[in-house]
Amino acid sequence: MTKPSSVCILGAGPIRIGQACEFDYSGVQGVRALREEGCRVILVNSNPATVMTDARLAHRTYVEPLTKKTVIAVLEKERPDALIPTLGGQTALNLAIELEESGELERLGVRLLGADVRSIRLAEDREEFRVAMKEAGLPVLPAATVTSIEEGLAALDTVGLPAILRPSFTLGGWGGGTAHDRESFELLLKKALDASPATQVLVEASVLGWKEFELEVMRDSAGTFVVVCSIENLDPMGVHTGDSITVAPAQTLTDREYQVLRDAARTVLDAVGVATGGANVQFAVNPDDGSYVVIEMNPRVSRSSALASKATGFPIARIAAKVALGRRLDEIINDITGSTPASFEPALDYVVVKIPRFAFEKFPGADPVLGTSMKAVGEVAAMGRSFEEALLKAVRSLEIDRDSLEAPREVTAADDAELEGRLAEPTPDRLWELAEAVRRGWSEERIFAATSVDPWFLRRIAGLVAAEGVAADALDQPKSLVALKRLGFSDDQLGRLTNSDPGSVRERRIEAGAGRIRRRVDTCAAEFEARTPYLYGSFGDADEQPTPRRPVIILGGGPVRIGQGIEFDACCVEAVAGLRAEGYEAVMVNCNPETVSTDYDAVDRLHFDPLHSEDVLDICDAERPLGVVVQLGGQTPLKLAAELEHHRVPIWGTPRDAIDRAEDRGRFAELLSDLGLRQPPGRMVTSAEEAAEAANELGFPVLVRPSYVLGGRAMEIVYGHDQLAEYLERAAAVDPDRPVLLDHFLERAVEVDVDAVADGERVVICGVLEHIEEAGVHSGDSGAVTPPVSLPLELQAELRHQVRLLALALDVRGLINVQFAIQGDTVYVIEVNPRASRTVPFLARANGTPWAELAARVCAGASLSELGVHDGVPTEVAVKLPVFPFERFPGVDPLPGPEMRSTGEVMGRGRSFGEAFAKAALAAGWRVPSEGRILLSLADRDKQRLPALAARFEELGFAICATEGTAAILHSAGFSEVTKVFKLGQGHPDIPQLLADGAIQIVINTAAGRRAAQDAGSIRRAALDAGVLYFTTIPGAHAVAEAVAALRRGPLSVRALQDDAAGPPPWAASLGD
C-alpha cells in the first residue's frame, strides 16, 4: 500500500445523545497523527464548538454540513488520496458507506482507510453480523432480523419474551427497547422500524441481568492484536452501555474467562474483516455458568475507546490513524514511556469508574428508566487506587450536588416496595438506591435479586455505607481518618459525618498523613518510567508530581450537560496555546473522559480529577500555580473561585467580585443604573398575591422563575393571571424562603449576544450574534447569525458601546458575554457573564480569531494592544442552529422555550443569510426542501404577521395548507389556494397522517400557553417523528424561506476556513504540531 499524501477526515457533526465530544477528541488525535506522518489533512465537520475545527489544526478545514453532497463537493475541490471514516462516529461511517456505494469515492479516486465498506456493513447489519459470528464459531443470541410487524411477530416464536428490539444503523441504540409482552412488542417494533433508516430491526432474545463487558482492541497490518482496555459494567445487561456505570479494568472475571473474551474479540475482528484500526467488542456473560455471547462490535473509535484511552493512557484514535496508514504497532513508540512500543497491553494499578450524566430534569414527562436506548448527555470518569475511591471521586465529579452515597430525599422517601421496584428498573439514581437498600439492611441476596448487580460491587457499596456508620469520631482517630480518605470519602461528607466542616477535615487529614499525592497514568503499572505528566490524585507513599516550572492551572468544564457543553472544552484547549505563548506551563484539571482537554498530549500537564474544591485545592498544593484560570470552563470553575480565593490561590483574569456583581440581582441592578443602562423591569415576590400585584404593575406577559433555581430551569412566559396562578401551583411553590422572580417579558424583542475580550483598558468585540428566534427562547436554543442581518449599524454600535461600559466597569480581564433584548429602538441588558460563553468558539470560527487563546494571554497579563487584536470581522455570514434530543424522549413537546434543551449546535457559512441558514439546517439534520407544501398553524398573537409569511412562501412556489383558524385568516386575506387540514383526530386526513405520508415538507407552528402547547405539541411531535422540518417562531419561518430561496438559486458551495484569512495573524500560536 502506498502511503497517501493527503487524507480527508470526517467529523461527527453536532453533539447529540450517543455521539458527544469523544469524536472531537478522536478527530483531533487523528489530525495530529496524520500530520506527524506528513499527510495533508482535510477535515469536514459542521460543529464549530469543536477543537478540531480550529483552522490551525488541519490543513484544510470545512465547517460544512456532513451530507453526501457537501462532502462530494469538498472531495472534488481537494482531491485527497484517502478518506478515514472511523474517527467521526456513526455519522462519518454512515456517510462513508453512502459515498462508497454510490461510486463517488471510486470516481474521485479516494480510497477508504481504516475500514472497508464490507466490514462496516457487516458490523452494522445485525443479521449479517450474527451469521458471521456463528460461522466463526462464536456464540450469539437467538435473534431474527425483521422488516415488518408480521415478520416480527413470527420471530417471537424462536426468540421468546422478553425480547430486545435493535434498529439497524441508528445512534446509541436509538429507537430500540425491551418488550416484555406481545402488546408492547408490537408498539415498540413499529417505532423501531420507523427509527431505522433501512426499516430493519433485529429482534433479539434478552439476556437481561447478565454481566456486560467490553474490550477495546487494536490491530495493525501485520496482524498484531492488543487489548487496550477491558471494561466491566456495574449495570448488567439491559442498560445501554453509554448509560451504564462502568469500571476499568474488568474486575469479576478469572484470567481464563478473561482470555476467552480476549480470544473471542480477535476472532470477531477476523470475522468482520477489520484488518487494521481500533474497534470495540461487547460481550454478555452469564453469571451462573460463565457462558457468553457476542453482543456487538464497532469497527471504529467510539465513546468507549475515548474512555479506554483516558483510562489507560493509550491513545487509541491517534494510533488507529497511524495503523490506518500502514504503520505497525511495534513501529509506533508509546509516548508515555518514550521507549517501549505501542504493541503491548496496558497494565493498570488503579481503577477507573465512569458515571454517565443525565438531564431528565430538562425534559419533564420523559421516562427516566434506563434501557437499551441511550439517554445520558455526558459522563465523568475518575481514577482511584481502589474501586471505592474511584467511585466516590466520580460521584463528586458529576456536579449534581451529591458528594457521597448519601441518598437524596426522593430516594429515602420511597417505601420498601417502591425502592425494590426502582432497583429493578434502573434510573439515574440507582447508585443511591443501592446504597439506600444497604442502609435499610437488605441482604445482598435481596438486592442482587432485584438488580443483578454483581455481588462484588454490592459488597463494596455496602462497605462504604458501613464505613459512614463508623466515621463519627474519625477526626480524633488518625488511622480511621486515613482509611476513610483512602476509601474515597470527601472532606465535605466527612465534615457532615464528624459534625465538623470540610476545612477542618482537610487540615486534620493532612496532619494524619492523608495529604493527597499525585500518581501517574503510565500504561504499565510503574514497570517503566513514565515521561508524560498525566496524573491523578490519590493517597500513598510516593508522590509523582513533576517539578513545576511556571505553572498556570486551567480549570475545565467537567461533564457535558445541557447548557455546558463541548464549547467550553474548546475554550480551555485554546487557552493552552495562549498560556504557552506567554511562557507558562499550561496545567489542565478536568474529569470528562470524552474531551480533548483530558488528552495528555494537548496540555503541559494533566490532572484527571474532580472539579471539586478539595481535589482542586490539593492540586494547587502540589502545583503551587502562579495563577488559576476559571473563566473558560463554564459555570463549573466559577463556582470554585470563592473557595480558591479563600485559600489564597491566585485567580487570574476578572476579579471574582465581578462574578458576584453580575450574578447578584441587587448588585446587578445597581451596576446597570450606575452605567445608565436599562434592564426589563422586574420584581421578586414571596406570595401568590404579591405575584399577581407585581404582574399587574409590570404588565403581562411576564417571565417567571424561582429565584433558587439556576439556568432557566422552571422558567416560563406567562400571559395572564390564570396562567400565573397555575404556574405557581405547579412549578414553583412561593413563600418567603423561596421567592419567585417576575420580569416583564419583552415580546417580539430581538435578542443579541455579544462576546468581548477586555484587558482593563481596551475592550475588543469578538462578535455580535443576532438571535433568529425572538426573546423567550433560551439563547442556547435559538438560532443565531453573525453579522446581524436586521440590526441597523447605529444600534450595533450602541450594543458595542454598552459592552465596553460593562466590561470596564466590572474590570473584566479576559472574556465577557452580554445578552441584550432590543424592542423597537430600546436596548435592554438581559444578562452579563464575565466569563467565556458558549458562543466564543462559534465566533472564533466565524472570524478566524482564537478568542479564548487571546483571553488566556490577557489573563496572563498581556495587553490587547500588544497582541494587536481588533474587533472580529466575519468573512461570511455564519448561522448557528441548535440540535435537540427530542427524538430520545418520546412524548415530550419539542418546543424550544426559556429552558435550554439542545445538546449541540452546527454552523452554516455562506455569502448570504439564506445560504448560511440552509447549510446550518442541513447540518442540523433537516431535510430542507426547495419545493413542496408548507403547513401553517399560528398562535393568535402571531396572526397579524401571517399574510407576509404566506406571501413569501407562495412566491417561492410552495403550496400552503393551514389549520382552521390560520386558514380562515389567510382566506380572508385573499389567499384562495390555501387548503384546510385537520388536527389530530378532527377529520380526515389529519396532520400526523399527512406528515407521515410525506405530503408536507415544512411545518410552521407557533403556540403559547400550556393548553395550546399540548394541542400544538401533537403537530410538532408528529413533524419531528416524521422527520419534517419544523419551526416554532415567525422569524424562524422567514429564515426557512430564505434558505429555500438560496437552494432554489443553485447548489451550495463549500469553502475552507483557511481561505478566509490571508495568513496566520501575528499572535497566532502554533497548534497543529
Binding site: F225, S343, F344, V351, G441, L464
Partner: protein, 388 residues
C-alpha cells in the same frame, strides 16, 4: 443494618505488616494470614488477573510476590486454575484483598485459602511505591513481617538476606517421582472441548524443573499422553523410544545453578524433538554453550510484546523470569526466533536441524494471553513428524 462483615477491613484495626528491603527501605501496610517473619526475593507482577495461578506457580518459589492490580481475591479460588498443588510464593503483597469471592467458578475464598496454607499476606501496601523502588534498585531480597516485630529490628537481617543467584531452587520444587498427567485445558462453557481418543496418543516427557500444570494441560489438549519426570531423569530413559518428544519446563531461580540439567540436555539435543519453556529455554541456552544473566528486575506480567521473527507479528506474552540467555553468547548455528520489544532481550531460540525450539515467555499463558498456543501445536507436529 450493615454487618461488621461489610465494614472495609482498613477500619477494623488490622494488624500491621512491614516489608523491609535489603538496603533498609521499609514499606508498611496491614497483615492477614500467618504471623511470621519471612524472607524472599521481592518481585512484582503487573497482570490484572490470575493471582491464584501466580501464587501456585513453582517459578515463584523463594519470592515475595507483589501484585500491582488494585483488587485481588475477588474471584476466589478454584481447582482448575491451580498451577501446582500448593502455594509456592513465600508471601503475597497487595493493595487490597477480598474476603469473599464473586465467581461461579470459585469453590472458596482467596483469603481463607491463603490463610489455611499458612501464607503471610501484606495488604493495604502502596504496591506502586514498591514497584518504583524495585524498578530502580533491581529485584532485591527483603523480609515481610506480620507478627508485630518492629521493622527497625529487621534491618540488620534484611541486609544479609540472600538473592537467588547460585541457588538450585528447581530441585526444591520439582517432582521426585515420575507421574502421568491426564487433565486437558479448561474450556469455557461456550466452547466445550472435544477431547480426542485416549488411545494412540504419542507420549511426551516433561522434565520438571517446577512445571506449571497449564503446560501439562496444553500438551494433553494437543493429543499427547503426558508423563512428568524429575530433573534427574536419564538420557536413556528419555530417548529409549517411549517418548515422541521432550518438554523442558519452567522453574524458579538461577538456571546456572540447576545441577546436571545442562549436561542432560546437551545429550538430548539432536536425539528427540525438544520444546523449552522459560527455565527450559535458559537451560537449552546453557546446554548449547550460551550464558545466562540476571535482568535488573525481571519480566513478570501478562503484557510483554515479543516479536516472532519468522512472521514479523508481535505476540503479547505472559512472562515470569529474572534470568535470560545472553544472545551474544550463543553459537552461530543457534537461531534467535523471538525477541522482547521492550528491552531487546532474547525470547526464543531454535536449532531447527536438531529439532529444538525454546521460548523464554510462557506460551501456556495462565495467566496471560493465549497468543502463543501455536507453539504447542507446532511441537506436536514436530513430534509426529519425527516419529513417522
Amino acid at each position: 443494618m450493615t454487618g461488621p462483615r461489610d465494614l472495609p477491613r482498613s477500619l477494623t484495626h488490622p494488624r500491621p505488616a512491614h516489608l523491609v528491603l535489603r538496603g533498609g527501605t521499609v514499606f508498611s501496610g496491614w497483615a492477614v494470614g500467618a504471623e511470621v517473619v519471612i524472607e524472599g526475593e521481592v518481585v512484582f507482577n503487573t497482570s490484572m488477573t490470575g493471582y491464584q495461578e501466580m501464587l501456585t506457580d513453582p517459578s515463584y518459589h523463594g519470592q515475595i510476590l507483589t501484585l500491582t492490580t488494585s483488587h485481588v481475591g475477588q474471584v476466589g479460588v478454584n481447582p482448575e486454575d491451580a498451577e501446582s498443588n500448593r502455594i509456592w510464593a513465600r508471601a503475597l503483597i497487595v493493595q487490597d484483598l477480598d474476603f469473599e469471592p464473586s465467581s461461579w467458578r470459585s469453590d472458596g475464598g482467596a483469603e481463607a485459602w491463603l490463610s489455611e496454607r499458612g501464607l503471610a499476606v501484606g495488604w493495604g501496601f502502596d504496591t506502586r511505591s514498591i514497584v518504583r523502588h524495585v524498578r530502580t534498585a533491581g529485584a532485591v531480597p527483603g523480609i515481610l513481617v506480620t507478627d508485630g516485630t518492629a521493622p527497625e529490628e529487621l534491618i540488620g537481617r534484611a541486609a544479609e538476606a540472600r538473592g537467588t543467584d547460585g541457588i538450585d531452587l528447581a530441585r526444591e520444587v520439582a517432582c521426585t517421582e515420575a507421574y502421568d498427567w491426564n487433565e486437558g485445558p479448561w474450556a469455557s462453557p461456550s466452547h466445550p472441548l472435544e477431547r480426542g481418543p485416549d488411545t494412540d496418543r504419542p507420549a511426551v516427557a516433561v522434565v520438571d524443573f517446577g512445571v506449571k500444570r497449564s503446560i501439562l494441560r496444553r500438551l494433553v489438549g494437543e493429543g499427547f499422553a503426558v508423563r512428568v519426570v524429575p530433573p534427574g531423569v536419564t538420557v536413556d530413559e528419555l530417548c529409549g523410544g517411549r517418548y515422541a518428544g521432550v518438554l523442558l519446563s519452567n522453574g524458579p531461580g538461577d538456571p546456572a545453578a540447576v545441577g546436571g540439567a545442562a549436561d542432560l540436555i546437551s545429550r538430548l539435543i539432536g536425539e528427540i524433538p525438544i520444546l523449552g519453556i522459560c527455565m527450559g529455554c535458559q537451560l537449552l541456552g546453557l546446554a548449547l554453550g550460551g550464558r545466562t544473566v540476571k535482568l535488573p528486575f525481571g519480566h513478570h506480567g501478562g503484557n510483554h510484546p515479543v516479536r516472532d521473527l519468522s512472521s514479523g507479528r508481535v505476540l503479547v506474552t505472559s512472562q515470569n523470569h529474572n534470568y535470560v540467555v545472553e544472545e551474544s553468547s550463543l553459537p552461530r548455528e543457534v537461531e534467535v526466533t523471538h525477541i522482547n520489544l521492550t528491552d531487546g532481550t532474547l525470547e526464543g531460540l531454535a536449532l531447527p536441524r536438531a529439532g529444538v525450539e525454546a521460548v523464554q515467555f510462557h506460551p501456556e499463558a495462565s495467566p496471560g494471553p493465549n497468543d502463543s498456543l501455536g507453539l504447542f501445536t507446532r511441537f506436536a507436529e514436530r513430534c509426529r513428524e519425527a516419529a513417522s
